[in-house]
Each structure stands twice: as C-alpha cells, then as structure tokens.
C-alpha cells in the first residue's frame, strides 16, 4: 500500500519537475529538433534546392571524407579558435581581473570593452579593410597599419596582411579575437563577482601573495565559468563566418575557408543542398566531440 502511494508521489514530483523544462522543451522540439531531423534526412539525398530529390544514402558522407577542402576548412577554423582560446581569453581574463579591483575609471572600461561585440559586421569589415589595406597611393600607404609601420621606422614590416597566404589566417584570427574578447570579459567579470570576498580575506590572513591567491582562490572558484567561456569560445569561433566574408570576400583562394563558408558554398555556388547538410551534420558531430573532450579535461582539472 505504502509503495503505491510513494510511487504516485514520486511520479507527481517528477512530473512537476519536468514541467519546469516543458516550455523550453516544446519550443526546442518545434524549432530545432524538427529542422534538425529534416536536415539529417536531406543529407542522404542529392538535391539542387528545387526539383526532384535523389536518394543516395551515405554517398555524401563518403565524399566529404575525401574532401580535402572541407578538412582544411576545419583546420582553419580550429586555428582561429586556438588563437581565440589563448590570446582572446587571456586578454579577457586579464581585463576582468583588472576591472574587479577598486580602480578609477572602472565603469568607463567596463562599457568600452563591450563595444567591439556590439559593432555591426559592416562597420568591422569596413574599418579593418581600411586598416589592413596594402595599397600605395602617391607614395603613401593607404592602410593605417602599413602607414604606421612605415612612418615609425619599420618599413620592412609592411605587408599585404590579408593577401598573403602566410599571414591572412592569423590576421583574421586577431581581428576575430578583438571582436570577441568583450563577451569573455563580461562573463568572467560576472563570475568574479560571485566569489565570496571572505575567501580573499582568509587568503590574505594566511599571507598569500597575488599569484598564490590567484591560483588557489580565484581559479578554482572560477572553473565552472571558465569552462563555459571556453566552450562558448570554441563554438563561436568554429562557426565564424560573417567576419571572413567582410575581410576577404569569397576567400584568399582556399586559405581562409572555414566550415560555414564551405557549407554555404555547397548550397549557393554548386547548388548541392544534400551535400551541404551532410557537411553540417559532420561539423556538428566534430563540435560535440570537441566539447565533450573539453568537459572531460575540465573535470580532470577539477580533481587536481
């Protein structure tokens, strides 16, 4: 008798708990799961966007395994992500730490650092195209960067930044980091706020210096936020797209291709929707693997 009542109570409890998730789940099913299912379905077909669909089973997947342009593009996005994870997030963390203290103009910095993410891609594209312009007109460099390098005594560093395969991707990665550090900055700042001040007091009493406090108090307490920032950075950078278009148009041959540009190229340039969907599914799978590995690493780090 008691068992039945208990079971009913548990069921009611579970149902109540699930209701918390219900609105999100319902919206998610309609706007994500259904298109996702359709996309996977489409990846098994050959389709031009209009007209008949031809079922070709796993042929798209076989093709993408040998598509070296696709794997190159994944490596390019990975490179941009690596630069972002190191340079961009280190910068964001340093700035967040600096703004966490009681310093003057704190509010000013907090507002200013969020400007790059707010800027529209149009403005970012126009400005950076002008800064990185390699042309000479009437003996003067049109681009701001080359102009500064030339006039401040480093003419040998003047370069065709976006037009040279050796520097194009790194340049794009740096612009991407510039545009993105504001996100990491406010997330890390938010996380720093929730660290109990008493922990810092305790560390001070124990005689810990700045570095020791950082490694023993700040970092451990910030690990969950750091993990979220890392994952969001990875996901955001791997999917970079509009910035590439703004800086190098359809790309420096194939040196600046990233997965999303390859997917759109398959859709629009070669009208292969089925193949594009297969690429997208493959891309999603790779991202899931990367996130999973990141989470594993962070769990291990927590145990240390």
């Amino acid at each position: 008798m008691n068992q039945k009542v208990k079971a009913a109570a548990i069921f009611k409890d579970n149902l109540q708990n699930f209701c918390f998730v219900l609105p999100a789940f319902a919206i998610f099913c309609i706007f994500y799961i259904y298109p996702f299912y359709k996309m996977i379905n489409l990846s098994f077909y050959d389709w031009r966007g209009i007209g008949p669909m031809h079922f070709i089973a796993l042929q798209n997947y076989k093709e993408l395994l040998g598509d070296h342009l696709w794997w190159d593009s994944i490596w390019h996005a990975g490179y941009i992500t690596l630069i972002a994870l190191t340079f961009q997030n280190a910068l964001a963390f340093a700035l967040a730490l600096a703004c966490d203290r009681e310093i003057r103009m704190k509010r000013f910095y907090r507002v200013v650092f969020f400007i790059p993410p707010v800027l529209s891609e149009v403005v970012v594209g126009l400005i950076w195209n002008w800064i990185l312009n390699p042309e000479l007109q009437n003996g003067q460099y049109i681009g701001l960067l080359n102009h500064l390098l030339y006039s401040s005594g480093f003419p040998q560093l003047v370069h065709n930044w976006l037009g040279d395969p050796k520097t194009a991707l790194t340049t794009i990665a740096i612009v991407n980091s510039w545009k993105g550090f504001g996100w990491g900055f406010i997330m890390l700042l938010a996380g720093l706020q929730t660290i109990d001040k008493q922990l810092y007091e305790a560390a001070k009493i124990d005689g810990a210096g700045a570095w020791k406090t950082f490694t023993n108090v700040t970092v451990p307490m910030m690990l969950p936020v750091i993990l979220v920032v890392v994952i969001l950075t990875i996901l955001g950078c791997m999917q970079v797209f509009v910035l590439i278009l703004a800086l190098v148009n359809e790309g420096l041959v194939h040196h600046t291709d990233v997965p999303v540009t390859r997917i759109f190229s398959a859709m629009q340039n070669t009208n292969r929707f089925g193949y594009a969907c297969a690429l997208a599914v493959n891309f999603g799978f790779i991202l899931v693997c990367i996130s999973f590995m990141t989470k594993r690493l962070s769990d291990k780090a927590k145990q240390v």
Binding site: N14, N17, F20, V21, P23, A24, I27, I30, F31, Y32, Y34, P35, F36, K38, M39, L42, L91, A98, C99, I103, M105, F108, Y109, R110, V111, V112, F114, I115, P116, V118, S120, V122, V123, I127, G182, I186, M187, L189, Q193, T194, D196, P224, L227, V228, I231, L235, Q239, V260, I263, F264, M267, F273, A276, A280, V281, F283, G284, L287, V288, S291
Partner: protein, 281 residues
C-alpha cells in the same frame, strides 16, 4: 624604507595596469569615433577627407537615415521583439536550468545534454525546413512566429549559463527557503533568481544584442514591411551596388545607441552581485 619601496611598486603596478587598460580601450573606441565621423560627411568626401574632424559637417544624414530608413517603424519593431524575446528567454531558460540544476526527474541529463548539443550543431541548411514548418503553422509573417523562433535561438546558451550559476548556489540557501515554506516555484523566484542576478544581466545583454542585430531570420520569416526590425532598415542603405556610406553610418550609430544603453543598465548588476552579508553560514 620598506614602506617607500612598497608604495613605489604599488604605484608602478597601478600605472602599468592603466596603460594596459587604456591602450585596449583605445582600439575599442576607435570604431565608434570613425563611425560617428563618417556619419557627418557626404558620400563623395567620406573616403577622401583625412582630417580628424571633417572639414564640412553634414548634419542631414541622421534625418535622412531616420526618414528613408523608416526608422520609427523598424525601431519600434526591434524594441518589441527584443523585449518579448528576452523576457521569454529569461523566464523559460531559468525555469529549465533550475530544474536541471536543483530538481530531479528521469531523463534529466539526457535532455540537458540535448540542449547543450544544440549549440554545437549549426543548422545552416535548415532554413527551408523551418520556413515550410512555419508556413504550415501559419506563423510566417507574424510577430508571434518570429518571437518564438528567436526565443529558440537563445535558449541553449542561456540554459547553460543559468545552470552554471544555479549550481554555485549553496544548498543552505535553498534549505532555508524551504524551511520558510517556499515551494519549488518559490525557491526559483525568491532565492535562485536573485542569486543569479549577474547571470540574468549577462543573458539579457547577450540575447538583446543577438536579437537587435538579427536580420537573416527576419528576412526569411517576415514579409510585411510593418513587421520588419531595424537591421532590415539598415540593409536599405547598402544598395545592391551603390552604398551611401555616411547615411549608413548615421543609421548604424542610431541603431547602436539602444544596445549600449541596455548594456549600461545591465552591467551594474553584473558587478553588484552579492555582498558577503547575504550568504548565510
């Protein structure tokens, strides 16, 4: 002697930090300055006039952008969409994250990982399926349909951020609330949400920015000009071939102001957070 060296080191450190912060701040301010400067020029001088402050200030562009870009209508639409979607996201995702973090039900982990995985699997090829579905549901060219779709866009990330913050909430807070007689909803509303105020601020900022700058789904799902958001108005200045840069910059400047205002309002909450007195025990 020792104190002097200590003070000197402190001052140097402080100066270095300020130099660092200022130089980064300069690179961030530069585009705003450039944008505003362009907005005061004309199309034939915008790339030619190299002076810091343009020789001839043209004040018409802002008025032109407002009228030609039909700003009043688009602005109102963007505000409606942003407010509705952000409110929807904050409530729906915090409820879900609360359940993932503090409640139990079968399949909880699976559903959570599904949401997280959704962030990783982009759907560039899905617009056709989405449009067909929305047409069947008669949601195309409706505000409601666009709002629901945009709520979905921000759902996964917001749930992840909320859950991260809810996980950090000490069990004592929750127990104290339960002792006070709060049901699950009560705990969510009275304890969890105030605790996660920095998270709410971050989510409001992130999503406001995404919705404010969005135009791909708007172009796909909306047809009536009266329903279009601000970015659609700005697209008009980027002609298929000819772009009126100063008017475009004036439009972009005006479009950037509300977002910066939202950020100014929200970033206070990121900082205020909790004072040590609120943590019991």
């Amino acid at each position: 002697m020792k104190t002097n060296r200590y003070v000197l080191w402190g001052m140097t450190k402080s100066t270095l930090i300020h130099v660092f912060l200022l130089s980064v701040a300069l690179t961030c301010l530069f585009p705003i300055f450039w944008m505003v400067r362009c907005a005061f020029m004309t199309n034939d001088t915008v790339f030619v006039d190299k002076a810091f402050i343009p020789h001839h200030l043209n004040f018409n562009n802002f008025a032109i952008a407002w009228t030609k870009g039909n700003f009043a209508v688009y602005f109102l639409n963007s505000v409606i969409y942003t407010v509705c979607v952000v409110t929807g996201i904050v409530i729906i995702s915090s409820l879900a994250a609360f359940a993932f973090s503090r409640l139990k039900f079968p399949g909880k982990d699976f559903v959570f990982y599904m949401f997280v995985a959704a962030m990783m699997i982009p759907l560039p090829g899905s617009f056709v399926a989405l449009f067909v579905l929305m047409t069947k549901l008669h949601l195309v060219n409706t505000r409601f349909g666009y709002i629901l779709c945009m709520i979905n866009v921000g759902l996964s990330m917001s749930i992840l951020i909320f859950k991260t913050f809810f996980d950090k909430m000490p069990q004592e807070l929750e127990d104290a609330a339960r002792i006070d007689g709060c049901g699950k909803i009560g705990i969510w509303w009275n304890m969890a949400m105030p605790f996660a105020r920095p998270a709410i601020a971050v989510i409001v900022i992130f999503n406001s920015l995404n919705i404010w700058n969005e135009y791909i789904l708007a172009t796909l799902l909306l047809e009536d000009t009266r329903l279009m958001p601000l970015q659609r108005g700005l697209v008009v200045f980027q002609g298929a071939n000819s772009t009126d840069y100063p008017v475009l910059m004036a439009g972009l400047t005006m479009a950037a102001i509300p977002i910066i205002l939202i950020y100014l309002a929200m970033q206070k909450h990121i900082v205020k957070g909790l004072s040590s007195g609120e943590v019991i025990g």
